[in-house]
């Protein structure tokens, strides 16, 4: 089922255009990978979807609702969970409180942190009372993923989630993403530079270059050399 439908959007930073007619679809129970070199507009696209940056043309649909006019927090309440690039955890809130900020989008009876989160990231259980900002970079990244999962999103957006994370945990995250996909409750958009990781997890992919989508398709149709061409310097 089509969960996210981005239809040829444009995005500007001041006078500089970062996205040019970009379209993207994500299905429930599927992982869509977004690949591309530095500065091609991946993060900008995610910001557009989550409402952190306004778009100047095009439309964005979540399920059957247009959301491009909605505020960022409204989109979150509609079910968009976001793991931003650069972690952006709340530095002065404890790990626990960081997780609890995810409750804001939930009904009262859902105010609990699912157990599987601590299974996935045991370090967070140990550090519940520590302030988020004191954690190491990788720990913060884990926290950021966990926090988004607390929201039980319909659409999970992961912007380079493995950045700074140790190999064993990357494997765990990979397993977790598979697990979430299997649950068939959410669509996952994964921005990744780490080609092998992305290829392993995704069901479909897009490759961006200079604000455009230059390649798109199902995983089965993915040709490594074509993609790598766009990722090389």
């Amino acid at each position: 089922m089509l969960q996210l439908d981005v239809q040829s959007i444009d995005l500007f930073y001041g006078a500089a255009q970062a996205l040019r007619g970009v379209s993207l679809q994500a299905q429930r129970g599927k992982v869509t990978a977004v690949l591309g070199r530095n500065g091609v507009g991946k993060t900008s696209l995610m910001r557009a979807i989550t409402g952190q940056q306004a778009i100047s043309a095009g439309s964005i649909w979540l399920g059957d609702q247009p959301i491009e006019a909605k505020q960022s927090f409204e989109r979150a309440r509609m079910g968009i969970g976001f793991v931003p690039q650069g972690r952006e955890i709340f530095p002065l809130l404890t790990v626990r409180e960081n997780l609890e900020t995810g409750f804001a989008a939930l009904a009262r009876q859902e105010h609990s942190v699912p157990d599987f989160i601590f299974d996935l990231f045991p370090v967070l259980a140990d550090m519940k009372q520590r302030r988020g900002g004191d954690l190491s970079g990788g720990q913060q990244q884990q926290l950021a993923i966990a926090r988004a999962l607390v929201m039980r999103p319909k659409l999970l957006i992961l912007d380079e989630p493995t950045e700074g994370i140790q190999p064993s945990v990357i494997k765990d995250i990979g397993r977790a993403i598979s697990f979430l996909r299997e649950k068939q409750t959410m669509a996952i958009v994964l921005v990744e530079q780490y080609f092998d990781f992305a290829r392993e997890l995704c069901d479909s992919y897009v490759v961006m270059d200079r604000g455009h989508i230059v390649l798109a398709g199902e995983k089965s149709a993915m040709v490594e050399a074509d993609v790598r061409k766009h990722l090389s310097v």
Partner: protein, 535 residues
């Protein structure tokens, strides 16, 4: 009956030794007429005469005089007083006159007259039924040290059942005896000891007056000893007292700063209009009292409990308005909030000035807030006590909201990373507005308390803004505990410096100390440490 007789007896003794050569007060009206004059010296003499007259209305007349309810008819110098219900009573007959008297002139009182009244009423009420009144009477005698009351005192001491009242009586007797040259030495020594036990400044003064010139060697030694004990005690007491003053100043600073700890400390808005929120709270109190005064005077004691929620609402609403119209465009530009809120502050001041005038407005103290609670010389003024308790209560409540509620969590999240908070589904505009309104509302509550000790004028806010910022910053921005500790330690430091250096120099020293202290702890008393802060 016995009591009446006794009073008469006591006062006859009083008169016998007194300066008044009363022509025996057979003609009551004649005695009363002595009060019907404009000459204070005559009134003073008249009081003594009336007190001694044994008139049934004597106490009522003197009380009326003390409360400025006594008047006389210029034509015939007949005295009338207003009773509790406000109707005129003829003093001579102690009954309501047939027709309303006219052409009345009030009997004027000044301090001299008041003193004479206190003394006279004091001796007259030694036997009052109310123990509080008896204590007051004893204190009046203690102050006047009137030798003529001695006999009366002896007799009431013998009869008194209440231990506390008895102690006061005995102290009064001791005060009289100590400086009575012709009293037996043993009595005077005992009196010195008694006063030593009482141990206050007044006793010390009395003991200091004992010297070889007016007392025997033994008495002098006893007095010296007692005085020494008192001095030691008083020195200790003054430290405790200072700590109390410090605490109470600290609580005022806390109240003034606590709203700012939200708007500035938590939200990072350099809120120059904070003081005006406090001011709005104070004016709300004024308005509430004004309405109560005209509409329901009986509710006066409830004026503050009524004003507190109202002040919160008024300031919170104004805060809300400011946030929605101005501040919300300034998130992410904290320095510019200084400029805008300064503008707001100017406008609010002028608005209040236009609405209420430039003058101070009167805010009265409810009965439970006036008076002193004397703990054996350690004096706690009720007003201050309430303010301390109130300050702490507000602090605890606020801490509860910030740390314990989901709103508190959202507030902190929004402040730390607005964009991410929105991405988590937090309604940032709402949370911003509520946070600012909360901070403003708390400032308004503080205004209710501050109206009790300071001017209620358009400048009220200005006089607290600097101290408020100082407290919040000194305590450590963003930390409510820091604000509490900052306020209390500044209050204490101020009050311990003041006796040593004087008010002005003390304050200068304190500021210098703060400047130096910040060098040691560049992020305030309760600095947040660690990586988390640097991000």
């Amino acid at each position: 009956m016995l009591r009446r007789l006794f009073v008469i007896f006591g006062l006859v003794v009083l008169l016998a030794g007194g300066a008044v050569r009363a022509s025996y007060a057979d003609d009551a009206t004649l005695t009363l007429k002595r009060l019907a004059t404009d000459n204070y010296a005559d009134i003073e003499l008249g009081i003594a005469a009336v007190a001694a007259s044994g008139l049934p209305s004597a106490e009522a007349v003197l009380n009326a005089l003390a409360d400025s309810r006594l008047s006389y008819r210029s034509a015939d110098k007949a005295l009338f007083f207003k009773d509790a219900s406000g109707s005129w009573i003829d003093a001579a007959t102690n009954t309501m006159p047939a027709e309303q008297p006219s052409g009345l002139k009030p009997v004027k009182v000044n301090n001299r007259v008041r003193r004479a009244l206190e003394a006279a009423l004091g001796s007259m009420t030694l036997m009052a039924a109310d123990p509080q009144k008896r204590i007051a009477a004893a204190e009046a005698v203690f102050k006047s040290r009137d030798v003529n009351t001695l006999a009366a005192l002896e007799s009431v001491i013998a009869k008194e059942q209440d231990a506390v009242v008895k102690r006061h009586f005995e102290e009064a007797r001791a005060a009289v005896l100590l400086l009575k040259v012709d009293a037996p030495e043993s009595d005077r020594v005992a009196a010195a000891e008694r006063l030593g036990e009482r141990g206050d400044q007044d006793s010390l003064a009395l003991l200091g007056a004992v010297s070889e010139a007016n007392a025997s060697a033994n008495t002098v030694v006893a007095a010296k000893l007692a005085a020494k004990g008192i001095s030691r005690r008083l020195a200790l007491l003054s430290t405790v007292q200072n700590a109390w003053y410090g605490l109470s100043l600290g609580s005022v600073l806390l109240l003034a700063a606590i709203g700012l700890a939200i708007t500035f400390g938590v939200m990072g808005i350099i809120n120059m209009a904070h003081g005006e929120m406090v001011m709005l709270g104070a004016y709300t109190t004024f308005v509430v009292q004004e309405i109560i005064r005209t509409k329901a005077p009986g509710l006066f004691d409830w004026s503050l409990p009524i004003a507190i929620p109202l002040a919160f609402c008024v300031s919170a609403l104004v805060g809300l308005l400011i946030e929605r119209t101005i501040i919300r465009y300034l998130y992410g530009r904290p320095l510019e909030t200084l400029l805008a809120t300064w503008g707001v502050s100017l406008m609010l001041q002028q608005a209040v000035r236009s609405a209420f005038g430039a003058n101070n407005r009167e805010v009265g103290a409810p009965s439970y807030m006036s008076g002193v609670w004397d703990l054996n010389g350690f004096q706690i003024t009720y007003g201050r006590l309430w303010i301390i308790l109130f300050g702490l209560a507000v602090f605890v409540a606020l801490l509860g909201v910030i740390k314990g509620t989901s709103l508190g969590l959202k507030m902190r999240a929004v402040i730390q990373n607005r964009r991410m908070a929105a991405a988590m589904g937090i309604r940032t505009p709402l949370v911003d507005a509520l946070t600012f309104a909360l901070g403003s509302g708390v400032a308004g509550i503080a205004g209710v308390a501050l109206s009790q000790i300071d001017n209620v004028s358009p400048n009220l806010g200005q006089s607290y803004i600097i101290d408020s910022f100082l407290v919040v910053v000194f305590g450590g921005v963003g930390n409510l505990w820091g604000t509490l500790l900052g306020a209390l330690s500044l209050g204490l430091a101020n009050k311990f410096l003041e006796p040593i250096a004087g008010a002005v120099l003390g304050k200068i020293i304190l500021l210098a100390v703060i400047i130096l202290f910040i060098q040691r702890r560049p992020r305030g008393l309760f600095a947040l440490k660690g990586r988390a802060v640097e991000q």
